[in-house]
Symmetry: C2
Subunit: 327 residues, 2 copies
């Protein structure tokens, strides 16, 4: 079992790599080769045969070199995040569209090759006007360049899967929360930082009203989605290989209530309101909640509520400790 | 007024060029420059300043050279047809996707430039399962590579228009009928040939059952759509610049009845049934009829019925004559 992960140095990529090494197998076969690629060199885990490569997928030579090694399973996570893709038109298209196209073209160019291809799409393929709860047959109408690039990737995955060139699936990940580490350029960053920073006694900025409602899953759930997508029979999806995924439907007020329940008012007092019209406009066009019936029928599962998301973060990132409550 | 037409040597491109020359103006300004481009050199009409160029839009150098002349209105018609795009994966993507991407990238690279961009999409962006009458909010789900490439082009036109890089619109043309001239590689070719060939006393092959139902407009109506799309205010479309267009909802039996009404049984006797499972499978996944309310509200108009389509063909292509009835 040879596994290729693009964007392997990113947060989800690293957690996915760790989870695969811990499992030791995928699709019933021992993992004997991993190719990890990112713009910065990823770290190949000890004792794993394979390669950790620094490569820019927007370089036309990058994808053929990766695909000619014919990995059995490809996790295509590499992407420029939404805020940066909106700020830099050329860079967003280069990585998020041409990078995906390069992989697809290289896969199509191989003969007798049909890898499992797990593509991380996004709920940003949907844009206002939207129903409060989005059904599986909601038309895609992205309102950002990032969402546009992901929607185009979904179309590619559908077409190559239909043609038998890959056995692909596009996962519309909920917004990942709590995202560990430093903030990145994603417009959605505050959803995590208003939980993550107060838990360790640091101030966090809230740029949108507390009534803002959104759709969340933990990094742990996201890795679970990716592994599940690599394992299952995808034929029940028919021609539409794009899946909206289960998540937690929560407002910013729900996030703050979960933080207070778990870490107390000392934590929530660290959230500073600083309205930002640009961020409010971007996230205001995003989906609020989903009815992901197709994904649920296939066995995809997320956390039940925001407190469970917060507890997963405390277990996975803080060794079970709540520093703000210990001072 | 400088107009660029890609695919200008094609059937619609030539008729559009003629119509523009006859009108002499577009958007209230005299047409003083036309750039016509195709893989074979188009013909620049007498007395028109401009250029007729042979260029392959899948060549990365082609689009920048065209766009640096900063045309005011761009009609992007160039495409590999459905049958050929399905048979040749690389060629279809090269022209239908990378060609459109090249134009978009070149437009985005210009500063202070926002051309009117009229993109010919297709009803092939929709695929089964479909309702009998397709509403304007039907999700795109292409079942061919051609439809995939057109759906991706629609996403690009939406995103560049949203960013103010173009003022674009994607027209989902009905199947063009009666297409004049020789058959091409489109899987839909029989819809025209069962009318066109019998009218001039030649046999035509019908590969599908007479109950097969589809959505049609004449070449004359298609040129009318393109000109109208270049003229009107597109702001009422909001973020979704893709339009399903009016057409004639007709079965193959309706086509044959119109032929019999206008040209008599001698014409219809020239239709030979030769079932073809591949063609039946492709067109069986295509749309049957639309409720194109948004396009109608913007003033787009097609023929009322199949007889009107047939009469337009006889007037425009046969000088008003019906050869099979003259023998």
């Amino acid at each position: 079992m040879h596994i290729l992960i693009t964007g392997a140095a990113g947060m989800i990529g690293r957690k996915l790599t760790t989870a695969l090494v811990q499992a030791g197998q995928l699709r019933g076969k021992p993992i004997d080769n991993m190719t990890l690629v990112d713009v910065v060199p990823p770290v190949l885990p000890d004792g794993i045969a394979g390669a950790a490569l620094a490569a820019d997928l927007s370089d036309p030579a990058a994808a053929p070199a990766l695909i000619q090694t014919r990995p059995d399973v490809i996790f295509h996570l590499a992407a420029i995040v939404s805020g940066e893709a909106e700020a830099d038109f050329a860079k967003g298209y280069a990585v998020n569209l041409y990078g995906t196209l390069g992989l697809c073209d290289a896969i199509a160019a191989e003969t007798d090759y049909c890898p499992r291809f797990v593509f991380t799409s996004s709920i940003a393929v949907f844009g206002a006007p939207l129903p409060d709860v989005i059904p599986d047959d909601q038309p895609t109408l992205p309102l950002t360049s990032y969402g546009t690039q992901k929607a185009m990737g979904e179309l590619l995955v559908n077409d190559l899967s239909r043609r038998g060139l890959m056995d692909g699936v596009s996962l519309r990940l909920p917004t990942i929360c709590v995202r560990p580490g430093k903030p990145n350029a994603a417009a959605s960053g505050f959803y995590s930082s208003i939980l993550r920073e107060p838990l360790v006694g640091q101030e966090a900025v809230l740029p949108v009203p507390e009534t803002t409602r959104h759709w969340f899953a933990s990094p742990r759930a996201a890795v679970g989605f990716l592994l599940h997508a690599a394992e299952i029979d995808l034929k029940p999806l028919g021609q539409n290989r794009a899946l909206s995924l289960p998540g937690v439907d929560a407002t910013v007020a729900d996030e703050i209530a979960a933080l207070e329940a778990i870490a107390g008012p000392k934590a929530t007092a660290l959230i500073r309101r600083a309205p930002d019209a640009t961020i409010a406009r971007i996230v205001g066009g995003w989906p609020q909640a989903f009815d992901p019936a197709r994904a649920r029928a296939l066995g995809f599962e997320a956390e039940p509520d925001m407190e469970a998301i917060l507890r997963a973060h405390i277990e996975d990132e803080l060794d079970g400790r709540i520093p703000v409550a210990e001072d």
